[in-house]
């Protein structure tokens, strides 16, 4: 029997019991719709996390000064001041796989402008820092290597600081007192929002590290060094080279502990994506269960349908339908039922995602692959759960089937 004739018969049989067809499809519709929506939400959340990770910078390696314990109190990473500007120069000179490098001084301090004042994070960095950490300029300009060399009293400010000190006014060109030392604000930064740990990344003032050391904080050592490796593949190797070089420069005997700490961003990123992976697995289990439930609904209705139409099956067999014709007919009906449900479920899922993202502001991201997968899966459900009823129909004895009341 031809393909289109089979489909036509299946559609006609489904039209005959419209309410029943719709109710049966509902299981698949809701299942597929739920899959599309949850995968959309999951992907949206994942994309958001990935964007946050990207805002930390790609292939970033952090070197902290070692820690010291005084009178039983450990002061934490970066406090020992074991890293120097000369270390930075040496790294820049000796390690080829490094593309960007920035020494870092960091302190919490009071800043003021006019009659406003605010406690914020003070950072001393090289211009490379903005590239390493993916900071983008909102207004004005960044400070330059020239500013670093001359230890000029210039700085750029984050959005939070700008808002606290200047309100709606543009801070570019204004004077800001950093621990009572006047600096000129040369630029403002685009906001990054909260970090993965929940701190406000925009609550920051960034100045040349030389200015920070000499004019604000009065220190000669660094708290840390930010480094960007050329590629992800070179991350581990670069990390090892950095460790070797710094141990050599700091004259650390083999077997003794480092007086510094080298970490890379990858570790933080992996922890965050692991969460979204667990989420994805959980969602696919839920989706699978709902589709199986829908499939059982289809099987149930197909069994009822086979019983109801026993006489029709008998007639068809009497005029020459073979077992496989009947099998194909009922299988096509089940697949049509589940695929149609799948298509409607996709429509529901896309609509639902749209509504969620517009009304609730949830970032949903529906991918073509998830739609195709959902459709194929629903068709597969039809094949799997339609096969048993169809086979039952095809095995009927024509005489018994004709006699069936």
């Amino acid at each position: 029997m031809r393909f289109f004739a089979t489909i036509k018969i299946a559609l006609r049989a489904l039209r005959r019991n419209k309410l029943r067809t719709v109710l049966t499809m509902l299981g698949i519709i809701i299942g597929v719709g739920a899959v599309i929506i949850t995968v959309g939400i999951g992907n949206g959340a994942k994309a958001q996390i990935e964007a946050q990770i990207a805002s930390l910078g790609q292939n970033v390696i952090l070197i902290f000064s070692g820690n010291v314990t005084r009178s039983g109190i450990n002061t934490g990473w970066g406090s020992a001041g074991t890293l120097t500007v000369e270390d930075v120069e040496a790294i820049r000179r000796e390690i080829d796989s490094i593309t960007l490098i920035s020494p870092e001084i960091r302190q919490i301090g009071q800043v003021g402008a006019g009659n406003q004042n605010w406690s914020t994070q003070l950072l001393g960095e090289a211009p490379d820092y903005f590239e390493i950490r993916q900071w983008r300029l909102a207004d004005g300009a960044l400070f330059t290597e020239q500013d670093v060399r001359s230890a000029n009293k210039v700085c750029v400010v984050g959005k939070t600081v700008a808002a606290q000190l200047f309100g709606g006014e543009s801070p570019v060109g204004q004077i800001i007192r950093i621990k009572n030392v006047p600096f000129i604000i040369v630029g403002t930064l685009l906001p990054k929002g909260l970090s993965l740990m929940g701190t406000d990344q925009d609550d920051v003032v960034i100045m040349p590290y030389t200015s920070a050391m000499k004019r604000v904080m009065g220190v000669t050592t660094l708290r840390g060094i930010n480094v960007q490796a050329a590629s992800e593949r070179q991350l581990a190797e670069t990390q090892r080279q950095l460790t070797d070089l710094l141990r050599q420069r700091h004259r650390i005997q083999p077997g003794r502990d480092d007086d510094f700490n080298v970490r890379n961003q990858q570790e933080i990123a992996e922890a965050a994506t692991a969460t979204s992976k667990i989420m994805a697995v959980f969602l696919s289990i839920v989706a699978g269960v709902s589709l199986v439930v829908g499939g059982i609904g289809i099987m149930n209705i197909m069994l009822v349908s086979v019983t109801e139409r026993t006489r029709e099956i008998g007639i068809r067999m009497a005029v020459g339908a073979r077992g496989r014709d009947i099998l194909l007919q009922f299988l096509t009906e089940a697949i049509t039922l589940s695929s149609l449900g799948g298509l409607l479920g996709i429509a529901l899922g896309l609509g639902g995602s749209k509504i969620l993202s517009t009304t609730q502001g949830w970032p949903t991201l529906t991918s073509t692959s998830s739609i195709v997968m959902a459709f194929l899966f629903s068709a597969g459900v039809g094949v799997f759960f339609g096969f048993y009823p169809a086979r039952k129909a095809s095995r009927l004895d024509p005489i018994d089937a004709l006699r069936y009341e």
Binding site: M1, M317, G320, I399
Partner: protein
């Protein structure tokens, strides 16, 4: 001339629980093309079982069955389905049309399953010709529930003719019909028989059997009588007589 049907010592036994029921016990029969046979018998005489075997819906437990020269007694399910499709046409007592499907589509049904695929236009035309043959051409798009019993049976006959079978089998075709419609249906069979189609039918109405050419009587699974019909009735003549009688009592104007 080759026989359309040749039965050689056909037996059929059913196993119902512990008891073996011997429905048909040694029937031998030969039917030439163009015959018109009525098989009669009380219920339980084995006539329906014999009909199922003739119709390739069932297989004999013993004996040989040659249909149109082909031995069909040892064929499998699918092969029997093909034989039913190509060589046989069925007419049932209860019409057995697909409801909510037009007359024409009902007639097209056997063509849907034929091994040699026809274009849908060809199917359409063939169904139209078959309906024309039973005098229902203008009702092709009606559904069974819009047709009278006699008309439904005509559609069923047209369906049986769709694949131009060698043999038309009818299982009590007039069982559900009133006497006038029964005569009309017998008229259709007579007309088809005159065109050379072999017809075998089951009936337990003696007067219906008199429209055929040959009467078989079965009892206890055996053929006990096989006689040609003398004083064969002609459907047209009978119908006219019936109308005159009805007019006499003012049943019809």
């Amino acid at each position: 001339m080759n026989a359309v049907i040749q039965l050689e010592d056909i037996h059929k036994a059913y196993q119902t629980g512990e008891v073996e029921v011997k429905a048909v016990r040694g029937v031998s029969l030969q039917l030439a093309p163009g015959e018109f046979v009525a098989i009669m018998g009380a219920s339980g005489s084995g006539k329906s079982t014999l009909m199922n075997i003739l119709g390739c819906l069932d297989r004999p437990t013993r004996g040989r069955y040659l249909l149109d020269g082909v031995d069909v007694s040892g064929l499998g399910r699918d092969e029997l389905a093909n034989i039913r499709n190509q060589k046989l046409g069925f007419v049932f007592q209860g019409f057995n049309l697909l409801s909510r499907t037009s007359a024409r589509e009902n007639v097209e049904l056997p063509m849907l399953y034929s091994r040699r695929a026809l274009s849908s236009r060809e199917q359409h035309e063939r169904a139209g010709r078959a309906l024309d043959l039973v005098g229902l051409a203008e009702r092709a798009d009606h559904h069974p529930n819009q047709l009278s019993g006699g008309q439904q049976q005509r559609v069923a006959i047209a369906r049986a003719l769709a694949n131009q079978p060698a043999l038309l089998l009818a299982d009590e075709p007039t069982g559900n019909l009133d006497s006038q419609t029964s005569i009309e249906i017998m008229g259709v069979f007579q007309k088809l028989n005159e065109q050379g189609i072999t017809v075998v039918m089951i009936t337990h109405e003696l007067d219906i059997a008199r429209f055929t050419k040959r009467n078989l009587v079965m009892r206890d699974g055996r053929v006990v009588s096989d006689v040609p019909v003398e004083k064969r009735l002609n459907a047209e003549v009978e119908l006219r007589a019936l109308r005159e009688a009805q007019a006499a009592v003012k049943l019809v104007p």
